[in-house]
Symmetry: C2
Subunit: 358 residues, 2 copies
């Protein structure tokens, strides 16, 4: 039924469907997505090497089908102590409001770029697919990933980024439309105002590159899957639509925000990490952003938010949680992953049949 098998031929999945790597959901989501024939993805950017090993092993206890390890490939900005101090000062009233001690030590979350240590983990784990966000790692590391047998995917937000990724070794390109939830994969530009919608981006990238193209951004049901193929995609990457599955195990405030969001609930914001990402507008975004020119560089904006998030969520509030969501969050459905994937396939088939002349 699929108009293109270039992606499934490349990665060996039954379905041309990637469950998008995300840091929020539980790894059970990736396990189940791979088990039912999609490409499950583990968001490894916030994991330690041991966690990556453990999650890959846990996935393989559930299924021997292909899966994807996702890493960040950003070039770290130098730390900026002045901005960091300003950020702490801006957050101080929230600390006071929630009864938190601003001088208490803060856990530093790992959002380090892919490095030699993680590369050794990839060589050990040998996943079928490795995907990168914010560009590609340095050439020697990328060569090792490919030598370990992994198909390499990477995200492009412009035609120019897609051409760069193809020229630098990506085996397929993810066309990440502006509707997509979470971090924009931007790595050649830096202007969130110029981000391109899925509908415009996919055909322009499909025209420009020879490698398979994976459409991402606001794909949440079979209509979207069929539309992505019509635009020239060889596969789709779906994130937000999986967030209400029980396997994703989202926090109650996050689930509530997704379930009740109006159609224009989201915006691009940099206040959670320092880089632009799409999420449901909440208190932190409204009061400190959504785009703040003085937020500390990625990812150093994030750690001081950790205590606020934990304290607020304990009170049932998502005021300080990064409620990452694409623009089709309202199309997300509460059902197990297996049922959702079956539904997506059936809906795509139904959409395609509408195009058949008698």
């Amino acid at each position: 039924m699929w108009p293109s098998t270039r992606f499934t031929d490349l990665v060996g999945t039954d379905l041309p469907l990637i469950q998008a790597p995300m840091i929020g959901p539980k790894p059970a989501l990736a396990r189940q997505a791979s088990a039912v024939g999609a490409l499950g993805s583990l968001g490894c950017a916030s994991m330690t090497p041991d966690q990556v090993r453990a999650e890959a092993a846990a996935l393989r206890e559930v299924t021997d089908r292909p899966f994807n390890l996702n890493f960040f490939a950003h070039v770290p900005d130098p730390e900026d102590p002045a901005r960091a101090a300003d950020w702490k000062a801006r957050l101080a009233p929230y600390y006071a409001e929630l009864g938190l001690d601003p001088a208490a030590p803060i856990a530093v979350t790992n959002r380090a770029p892919f490095d030699a240590v993680m590369c050794a983990v990839v060589e050990e784990v040998r996943p079928r697919v490795v995907s990168f966000h914010f560009g590609l790692p340095p050439a020697p590391l990328l060569a090792r990933v490919k030598a370990a047998g992994a198909v390499v995917l990477a995200s492009a937000t412009t035609v120019e980024e897609a051409l760069w990724l193809e020229a630098n070794g990506a085996d397929a390109v993810i066309a990440q439309g502006a509707e997509a939830g979470g971090h924009r994969g931007i790595f050649l530009g830096d202007d969130p105002a110029r981000q391109i919608g899925t509908f415009a981006l996919v055909p322009q990238i499909a025209d420009a590159v020879n490698v398979p193209v994976i459409a991402a951004g606001a794909i949440a049901d079979g209509r979207g899957i069929a539309a992505a193929f019509a635009l020239g995609a060889d596969a789709v990457q779906i994130g937000t639509a999986f967030l209400l599955t029980p396997e994703a195990g989202l926090s109650a405030p996050y689930r509530a925000a997704l379930a009740s969001a109006p159609s224009d609930a989201t915006a691009l914001t940099n206040v959670f990490t320092g880089r632009p990402a799409r999420g449901i507008l909440n208190r932190l975004m409204r009061e400190q952003g959504p785009l703040s020119p003085t937020v500390p560089p990625f990812p150093t904006a994030a750690p001081p938010l950790g205590p606020l998030k934990a304290a607020a969520e304990a009170q049932g509030s998502g005021d300080f949680t990064a409620l990452w969501s694409g623009q089709a969050g309202r199309l997300a459905r509460e059902m197990p992953v297996a049922d959702l994937v079956a539904r997506l396939v059936a809906e795509t088939q139904a959409t395609i049949s509408r195009f058949r002349t008698p």
Copy 2:
């Protein structure tokens, strides 16, 4: 071949394809679009009543097929003399650079909302279709338009706006994705950061309303037309893709900007009129915006730019021209309207055939 005939049944065109109303192109574009079976649209917001009469008559000399008269339906903001003076001061260096006298009288362009005078013109001309941007006119005027036999279309940028339009008398809703060129149709909100991409907007509006849905934004070839139908649209509205036709008669700087734009060339800006609209980033947008919180209210930002635009274009520069473009401007093709429409239909057919299983 079309999976839905709800739009063509409603308006009586051969094709479920609207040539989007635009103020820049010449009216020959609308004449030819209607003549070849699409719905040609005259952007009447900048015309006098006599011009509307004359252009409708000129169109009817070419074809007796349906056409669309488009009007703005905004509630005018009060003038703001302080902002107007500030705006003149911000533009003064450009006046000096181009050798213009800032004290010379300036022609006021007409971007008035639809009123009783224009309503009388509609009653006289009796077009098959009238479309509105920025909401709908007051109920008594809308009732007169419908009594004159016109099908009423209006643009929605959110699900909430689509529901409002349906409840207030629109016969079909244009789902205007964020990729679309020109003015955002926003009328219930005012936040350009929350604008929704075509891919996310069309299915959500199709789910919400019972009237036919017209997809708009980045639809430029048959892949896009097929994708829009897959997402649930009953028709498409195409603007930017017509801009390189000879009938559109664009200025040389505008054509050159379109033909050479990178994929992320556009942004939303309010500096040309006071309301957010999508265009190719140029000098005025970069230096004064692209979104300026202190620009005078719509449409009073526009008149002082007239002399700058004229003087710059005379030197071959589009520095002060509103280079309205959607995000798929690179897919626009230089060919006559009749050839382009035939090509769009053939491409849609070809895309649809890819979905046919043997």
